[in-house]
């Protein structure tokens, strides 16, 4: 029995006929060849979110980002004019990694007026210009202005910093993000500066973990304990159904709906949730963000609760109606592993009670995300077995899983076609 209306075609999946309804393969989560092509076709061509503008608050503030899939490190820095720029973290003299603190492989952050190479002391301005060379006159036919830091395309949307490793990205950031995502323009992300950042190295392909956060079909089962014992049986028998799914190019979103948690009966809550007026769904007492929150409810559904935007390829922005948001990123570190980053963003606490409410939300987020992490490592192992050389079904509630694997596959196919054409013409 459908709880919510579906499109005229009868299902969300058939509403987007390009998706098909067939069985799918997870070869794309185990094959080293696929992973290598995916790096080139997807991660080195798409716009990738590497941070928030709050990470580089002032002129000279910088962070480094290790992009394992591209075997590079980037410096993201705010220049003297306030523009956010990105450069390869490599000295133009003899290739030394310029910015690092504890170890060259570890990310770091800080603030400076110039970047000075630890090796022979060449210096670079915040705009990447090489402006000092030790014993410059010893070099031959040398013009240091030709040896600035190598820039990477960098742009900002809604305070999210994106980079693009392509030589000339075919689309601007805004065009790439498309109308469904950029409809969020004006959402007060900039007010949510109280952050809880999480990081994990997880032994599964990045897409498998992303899948676990773009379908809720698994929630009543894998996370059965999200429901209190009094409600668990009912939650499981009801299963999960979303009121709205939407695709836009390679991007996708799902909405959920429901009454605010504070209105739920007491036996639907754990005691700690009642005591802190918070929990897995976040603080019960919402900040006043005003009524004009553009783009958060593209389906116009009644009583929306979550708007979960999956921005291609590896970014999730999950907005809660109760006035906070989560951001997840999945960075491939090998064909069968990835680095997961997750952050919870809140309007800053004004007192200890609000701080405790946010703490409870952050603690419960981690508890249940650990179930995903543990389980998905098992999925990865199983998909590497010979038994997995088969195809698997996906339900209508897993439309976004289908769409991610199809979108990645489409980009990889396009790249492979170009490559074989280039070979043919060579």
């Amino acid at each position: 029995m459908d709880q919510y209306p579906r499109p005229a075609e009868g299902t969300w999946t058939e509403h987007y006929p390009d998706l098909g309804t067939g069985l799918i393969s997870y070869e794309d989560c185990v094959s080293p060849e696929f992973a290598a092509d995916e790096s080139e076709a997807v991660f080195k061509r798409a716009w990738l979110n590497v941070g928030r503008v709050e990470d580089v608050p002032r002129a000279g503030s910088y962070v480094t980002r290790e992009l394992t899939f591209a075997k590079t490190s980037l410096i993201v820095v705010r220049d003297a004019q306030g523009q956010v720029r990105a450069f390869h973290n490599m000295c133009r003299h003899r290739g030394n990694k310029i910015v690092w603190t504890n170890a060259p492989s570890e990310e770091t952050s800080g603030s400076c007026r110039t970047f000075t190479c630890k090796y022979h002391g060449w210096r670079y301005g915040l705009d990447g210009t090489c402006n000092f060379v030790q014993q410059e006159s010893e070099f031959f036919d040398f013009d240091k202005s030709a040896f600035g830091l190598i820039p990477v395309h960098c742009d900002v949307w809604a305070g999210f910093i994106f980079v693009n490793l392509a030589e000339s990205p075919p689309q601007s950031l805004r065009d790439f993000l498309g109308t469904m995502v950029t409809a969020l323009d004006g959402y007060p992300f900039d007010r949510m500066t109280e952050r809880y950042d999480f990081s994990a190295d997880i032994a599964c392909n990045w897409k498998l973990f992303a899948d676990a956060f773009q379908e809720y079909y698994h929630v009543p089962i894998l996370h059965s304990q999200e429901a209190t014992p009094a409600t668990r049986a009912k939650t499981q028998s009801m299963g999960f159904e979303a009121p709205h799914y939407q695709l836009d190019g390679p991007h996708r979103m799902v909405s959920t709906s429901g009454a605010p948690r504070r209105s739920w009966p007491e036996d639907f809550q754990y005691p700690i949730e009642v005591a802190t007026r918070s929990g897995l769904f976040g603080p019960w007492d919402e900040p006043d963000l005003g009524d004009d929150l553009p783009g958060v409810n593209p389906g116009g559904i009644p009583k929306w609760a979550i708007a979960n935007f999956q921005v291609f390829p590896n970014l999730e922005i999950l907005i809660w109606e109760t006035g906070w948001y989560m951001l997840y990123r999945y960075w491939p570190t090998s064909p069968t592993t990835h680095r997961y980053e997750g952050t919870l963003f809140f309007v800053p606490s004004t007192n200890a009670s609000e701080r405790a409410a946010r703490e409870c939300a952050a603690v419960m987020f981690k508890e249940f995300a650990l179930q995903d992490a543990g389980t998905l490592e098992g999925t990865q192992k199983a998909l590497e077995s010979p038994a997995a050389q088969t195809v698997f079904p996906l339900s209508d509630q897993e439309i976004l899983v289908r769409h991610l694997h199809k979108s990645v596959g489409d980009w990889v196919d396009a790249y492979r076609r170009e490559r074989s054409e280039a070979v043919r013409h060579a």
Binding site: E194, D197, Q225, T375, E377
Partner: protein
């Protein structure tokens, strides 16, 4: 950076770590007044259920009073003893996961997975 318990020990401050209305919780302060989530998570994983149940039984019913005491101050300007009190609330939240949900120290089905909180507000 406040380190709570250690700071008190080193400077030879009075034995009581918590504000006087919370003297009954003093016996848990050495173990559970921890400034960061990684410390609180590690303490939870290193504790037995009976240790956590004893802490929870004493502290959970007092969460409201503890927060009301702290709310009388600016969050960014908590006196050290109130700051430790808030840390005790954070630890109560941590152990409530084991007491109320899992009935064991570890998350069910987390296997060996880790998820490190690498940045958080203080206190």
């Amino acid at each position: 950076m406040h380190t709570g318990v250690n700071e008190a020990k080193q400077s030879g401050m009075p034995e009581s770590l918590l504000p006087s209305p919370f003297a009954d919780l003093e016996r848990f302060a050495q173990t559970w007044c921890l400034a960061t989530e990684p410390e609180r998570f590690a303490q939870r994983m290193a504790s037995t259920m009976s240790e956590m149940q004893a802490f929870y039984a004493a502290s959970f019913p007092r969460i409201g009073e503890m927060l009301a005491f702290c709310d009388a101050h600016q969050l960014g300007d908590l006196p050290d003893d109130a700051c430790r009190l808030l840390q005790l609330v954070h630890s109560t939240i941590m152990v409530s996961m084991c007491v109320e949900i899992w009935h064991q120290p570890a998350v069910i089905d987390a296997a060996g997975a880790r998820l490190d909180r690498v940045r958080e507000p203080f206190p």
